[in-house]
Amino acid sequence: MGIKVENLSYSYSGNRKGKPALENVSLEIAKGEFVVISGAAGAGKSTLIKHFNGILHPENGRVTVDGLETRTREVRRKVGMLFQHSQNQLFEETVYRELAFGPSNFGIRGEELDKRVHEALSLVHLDAGILDRSPFSLSGGEKRRVALAGILALRPTYLVLDEPTAGLDPESRAKLLGRLQNIHQKRVGIVVVSHNLEEVLPFAQKVISMDEGRIVFTGSPDEYLRAGYSPVPPLARLMKELNKKGADLREDIFTAEEALKELQKLRQEKPERDREKSEKGAAETEAQDNA
């Protein structure tokens, strides 16, 4: 089960002679896993994820979701996809209809539909007051949340997000990441495409790194940082530097609190010579004071 990609290759038809966008890509994403896909612009990340719910179909190779071919309709429900400028994904007259759109396409009606709408709304922390408003009257941040809720209303098994934090300020970013964590705790598999790794790595169980249409790395966040595929965030780099000097610290460190805890392992007695020096210093000051 899970999302399974086997020997996938793909090139955009206008670019047949050029380099393929994806070349012989194989990967597996388990149910409930939190995966980050990283890589520079143009590495093939967005092309890859568009294969997860059948927006694109493999030229060569095979993609299945929980054993289903991605041409099946059920896959569109199972794999919810939030694009980078998700605020532009909205089109209905009211927020309610926006959220009901997905589930009603899958034959959900009446009370059950109403329940789905409210459930999705609460997952993105919006109140019911917003349901009668036009999506176009909302702020950018609210629109993004409504777009996310619209996807959650389908109760997806996997949620795929393309650069979800791009352009958000720290406050909105922290809130969004908190929401993703909550959704993940409900056993929804999460796949995030991001180039702001320091933000998403702390939540990730697995990192897949792409370059020029190929997968160049798959492993844990810690392994990823050690492998040096991307500029390492400052705290992790500090730990790495200290390890070079003989410390034995974790390198997958993202918060000041974690870092302080690690650094405390280094605490040791004041070296003898320093102690002498400072005692001598103290004695001199004392002598001066007496004089």
Binding site: P170, E171, L242
Partner: protein, 274 residues
């Protein structure tokens, strides 16, 4: 060089954008302006070259009032802007043409234009892309190209408005490197961002919230303020670590943040203080 007195600005729909801003910017200063989305940072810097005119108060650039239409051209030659989305700023069919566009409008001699374009592309590391179409550049490269266009104008002051928010970490690093080079050239830099780590080495930092300047000072003093969270900002974890080490009696020199290697060295040598 820049003087802002009692500047207030209301948007056309009447909402208040800026409230009684007073600010002077020195020649050669690197000023960081931080604040959450909607705090007024961009509105403020759009006054620096007359893109917006004060509703009340006065903005002057080298003594020229931005409200005086006859000075506008000279003001725009003095202050260049680089925006978040450079794609919308491209005019040339090749990168070279694009960078030359501004200097050509200054009616400079061709040799001078050539020289400026070469120099600017070199500073941002795009000399090998001079004949590429600006549309084929990646996000990071486009941002560098926009910086090159500003450099070729040889303006005294360059304003960077949230240029890093769409960049990946590698391109951000590259832009930071360019900024370091610019600082050596005594240009005045105004750098707007919501990432505090990008203004760690500024001469001065302003925090804006709800259209007002709410904190001002050296990065070191501003980043100690416990209330930054209320303004929707987040301290870089590495700064937070330094602050907590200091609170525990282990003060480290702020300048060490410029090099993680040196910081590690210092911590390792004095690890008994942790």
């Amino acid at each position: 060089m820049i003087r802002i007195e009692d500047l207030s600005y209301n948007f056309p729909d009447g909402t208040r954008g800026l409230k009684k801003i007073n600010l002077g910017i020195e020649r050669g200063e690197f000023l960081g302006i931080v604040g959450r989305n909607g705090s007024g940072k961009s509105t403020l810097v759009r006054h620096l070259n007359g893109l917006l005119k004060p509703t009340e108060g006065k903005v002057s650039i080298n003594g020229m009032d931005t409200a005086d239409p006859s000075k506008l051209l000279e003001i725009r030659q003095t202050v260049s802007m680089v925006f978040q989305n450079p794609y919308t700023q491209f005019v040339g069919t090749t990168l070279e043409e694009d960078v030359a566009f501004g200097p050509e409008n200054l009616a400079l001699p061709p040799e001078e234009i050539r020289e400026r374009v070469d120099r600017a592309l070199e500073v941002v590391g795009l000399e090998n892309y001079r004949n590429h179409s600006p549309k084929t550049l990646s996000g990071g490269q486009s941002q560098c190209a926009a910086i090159a266009s500003a450099l070729a104008m040889k303006s005294e002051c360059i304003v960077f408005d949230e240029i890093s928010s769409m960049l990946d970490s590698r391109s951000r690093e590259q832009v930071r490197e360019i900024l370091r080079k610019l600082r050596g050239k005594a240009r005045t830099i105004v750098y707007v961002t919501h990432r505090l780590e990008e203004v760690l080495h500024a001469d001065r930092v302003l925090v804006m919230d709800r259209g007002e300047i709410v904190r001002e000072g050296s990065p070191k003093t501003v980043f100690k303020a416990p209330e930054l969270g209320e303004f929707g900002l987040e301290l870089p974890p590495i700064v937070e670590l330094l602050n907590s080490l200091e609170a525990g009696g282990f003060a480290l020199d702020w300048a060490l943040l410029a090099s993680i290697e040196n910081l590690a060295e210092e911590i390792w040598e004095s690890r008994w203080k942790i």
